[in-house]
């Protein structure tokens, strides 16, 4: 066991996966010699050589396009997109190719690629270093989509993704890289060192893709969250005193509807959180599914607390971010409904 940051946990997962399986290759922009702008691949090139971990041209479409070719050959490419905001040039290769290769060839070819990308705001990154595009992946049949909220899961989900026979998108909330950020941006940073989920097993392990984790049990309202919003939710529950059950989805596709359903049927209330823009965000899907599965148990409307339908602003970042005040208000308001 070691206390790791999320960055260290991700680096460690790469390392162990490369060690046990020489089909694993890691590449991306600044990923090789330098070890990535967030250092998630630090030391890998030195350890495994330039043909297992290398710098790539700045061409996201080419990153994924070549990765698909490698995966079809039989390798296990792990590709880093420097920021999720820069995945759009690769979107065609992801949607039209990686996601559909198994289906369109009836399993003749497959595409076990892992695509990692830092996501979310909170670092004054403005509209091109802050986005949360998960809903653009959850709409695409054939992709799995996971979002870790802590070092333990970051390692286990990455290892599971590399083993997975299908393409997996990992959205890594960059604001969590160094600590369990709860939205109180004006308070000192809490490091992972002090957090139980920063305690990471040294050995190789996987975290099952498709299983949610209940981070806080509660009776009054179910909160569905992932990534950074898990920590915001926990803080908001504590601050408001609302006895919320906080579910960390971890995997958006496949979704652990069972865990969600049990919880909402128990609490009768549901609040859905994400940082992405509201309209057609993944929160809409969660709201729709909860409503379909638990209609007769709902005592209040399902509320979504999300980023606004605007580009992520630079100076007004904290007016955009759905922080503990907004989440707390939602918890209280949903409790007031009869």
């Amino acid at each position: 066991m070691a206390q790791l940051t999320m960055i260290e946990a991700i680096q460690n997962a790469h390392d162990l996966a490369m060690e046990r399986d020489d089909r694993v290759v890691v590449y991306g922009e600044d990923v090789g010699y330098f070890g990535g702008v967030f250092r998630c691949t630090a030391g890998l090139q030195q350890k495994y050589g330039t043909s297992r971990c290398f710098d790539a041209p700045i061409n996201e479409s080419g990153l994924i396009g070549t990765g698909i070719g490698m995966a079809a050959y039989g390798l296990r490419p792990v590709v880093e997109i420097q920021f999720a905001d820069y995945m759009y040039p690769a979107y065609d290769q992801i949607v039209s190719e990686a996601a559909r290769l198994r289906h369109r060839s009836a399993g003749d070819f497959t595409c076990p690629i892992v695509i990692r990308m830092p996501t979310g705001g909170g670092i004054y990154g403005g509209q091109t270093h802050s986005q949360s595009p998960e809903a653009l992946f959850t709409h695409v049949a054939g992709l799995k989509v996971v979002v870790p909220s802590n070092p333990q899961d970051a390692k286990g989900l990455l290892c599971a993704a590399i083993e997975d026979p299908d393409p997996v998108i990992i959205l890594e909330p960059k604001r969590l890289y160094n600590g369990p950020f709860d939205g109180h941006h004006d308070r000192p940073v809490v490091p992972w060192k002090k957090h139980e989920l920063g305690e990471v097993n040294d050995a190789y392990y996987t975290t099952e893709i498709g299983k949610a984790a209940i981070r806080r049990e509660g009776q009054d309202v179910t909160v569905l969250a992932y990534g950074t919003m898990v920590h915001v939710a926990l803080t908001a529950a504590q601050e408001t005193g609302v006895d919320a059950e906080v579910i960390d989805l971890r995997s958006l596709i496949p979704l652990d509807l069972e865990t969600i359903e049990v919880s909402v049927k128990k609490t009768g209330r549901c609040v859905v959180l994400h940082e992405a823009t509201k309209t057609s965000g993944f929160g809409a899907e969660l709201s729709a599914q909860v409503q379909e599965a638990c209609f007769y148990h709902l005592e209040a409307p399902i509320i979504r607390v999300t980023g606004w339908d605007t580009p992520y602003p630079h100076a007004q970042e904290w007016d955009y971010f759905p922080g503990p005040a907004r989440v707390g208000a939602a918890l209280k308001s949903v409790m007031k409904e009869h």
Partner: protein
């Protein structure tokens, strides 16, 4: 600078449209045998001239000429002729099947048969092609069963991809034929990745990427060039310039460049043009490029100069945008006629044997069709189960898909 002349938009136009008389006099046809054949390991900057010529082996009399000749045994050439004839016959019957409503769509190779058929024989089993929809010649020359191709075209119960894709979107891993995509260009860079993977693995296999003239404009073309150049990937990058992209002539994609092959120069990738209607030339150039790739010298860009004699697909009517006679004026002739003339000139073939071969191939294709139709066509007979639709989205079916399949009642 006193020039304040109003600017105007330059929009390239083809030499001829419906009603015009085709004129290929501006299209320079090098004499067969005249283009040099440098050592395949020559540095790219020393062979830039190859991008502005056209490698041709067969002359107008069917004689094989020059340094690119002689890569083939006679027996192999007879096979080659048969492959092209089979492809043409196959096209013809499938076009008709589509018109009879037995399937939804078809695309033919008329006039371009030499390109994929000759290329295939220069590569080895285990190498991987990333084809477009106009390289079924790779399958036929590689011995893939005609019946299986037809099963796919009919989306019938024996379709290896279970009716999921439109006709001709084959997938045949064991035959080195990557699953076809409807999205133009995407596979061009995937081939580079496959080649990189072979190099990463210390393997000896190489990849072949395929793209049409129109599709070179796609951004994935650039991605392929960049990655192939940087990592010296063992991949042959093939542009099939058949002069048209649906209704759009090649000048719209080529722009102000002299040739498509020249695109390679900006990447330090050797580029070469070949007479795509000359079976011998295509094969020789393919072998040359394969040797380069296998010896660790990286990629080669090949522009196959040919002509799409038919419509773009069964949904297309070319008489709306090009002169009907254009195909007949095409200066590089017909690939089957040219190889046939060569074989006759070397006494390996005759008109009679040709006719006989035609009849045999007709029978063979007709037989395959019967066999395939016994497995059903798109509109009648056995079909893949709708249940299948939910399979292979993932290796293991997740709960939401299981629920949907149940809801669908299949």
């Amino acid at each position: 600078m006193s020039n304040s002349v109003p600017l105007t938009l330059h929009v390239p136009e083809p030499g001829c449209r419906p009603g015009d008389t085709p004129d290929f006099s501006g299209f320079e046809v090098p004499v067969a045998g005249e283009t040099r054949r440098p050592d395949p390991l020559t540095a790219p900057e020393d062979i830039r001239d190859l991008a502005f010529s056209i490698v041709r082996v067969l002359d107008d009399d069917g004689e094989a000429k020059g340094p690119w000749a002689g890569t083939f045994e006679k027996e192999a050439l007879l096979d080659g002729l048969r492959h092209m004839m089979t492809l043409r016959t196959f096209d013809d019957r499938m076009l008709r099947a589509q018109r009879q409503g037995k399937t939804s769509f078809y695309m033919q190779h008329l006039g371009e048969e030499a390109v994929a058929c000759a290329f295939r024989l220069a590569l080895r089993d285990g190498d991987m092609h990333f084809p477009t929809y106009r390289q079924a010649g790779l399958l036929i020359a590689g011995g893939y069963p005609l019946t299986t191709m037809m099963n796919q075209i009919y989306s019938n119960a024996a379709d290896p991809i279970k009716g999921r894709q439109m006709p001709i979107f084959y997938s045949a891993k064991d035959h080195g034929f990557f699953s076809l995509s409807g999205n133009l260009g995407t596979q061009f860079v995937q081939a580079v990745g496959w080649g990189m993977a072979s190099a990463i693995s210390g393997d000896t296999k190489i990849a072949a990427a395929w793209i049409g003239d129109g599709s070179t404009a796609e951004t994935d073309f650039h991605s392929a060039m960049v990655f192939a150049s940087t990592y010296k990937a063992p991949v042959i990058l093939n542009i099939v310039n058949n002069q048209w992209a649906i209704s759009t002539f090649q000048g719209i994609a080529r722009g102000n460049a002299t040739t498509f092959a020249a695109r390679g120069h900006g990447f330090g990738i050797p580029a070469i043009r070949v007479d795509g209607n000359d079976y011998l030339a295509v094969h020789a150039v393919a072998r040359w490029a394969a040797e380069r790739a296998r010896s660790g010298h990286g990629s080669t860009l090949i522009e196959h100069v040919t002509y799409r004699s038919g419509g773009h697909s069964t949904s297309d009517d070319p008489s709306a945008y090009r002169a009907k006679e254009e195909g007949h004026s095409w200066p590089l002739g017909d690939p089957i006629e040219r190889l046939k003339a060569h074989l006759i000139s070397i006494d390996a073939w005759s008109d009679d044997r040709h006719k006989q071969a035609e009849a045999e191939i007709q029978d063979e294709v007709r037989f395959a069709q019967k066999e395939a139709e016994a497995n059903g066509t798109l509109i009648s007979g056995p079909a893949p189960s709708p249940r299948d639709m939910f399979e292979d989205v993932y290796a293991e079916m997740p709960p939401h898909l299981r629920a949907q399949r149940q809801e669908a009642g299949f």
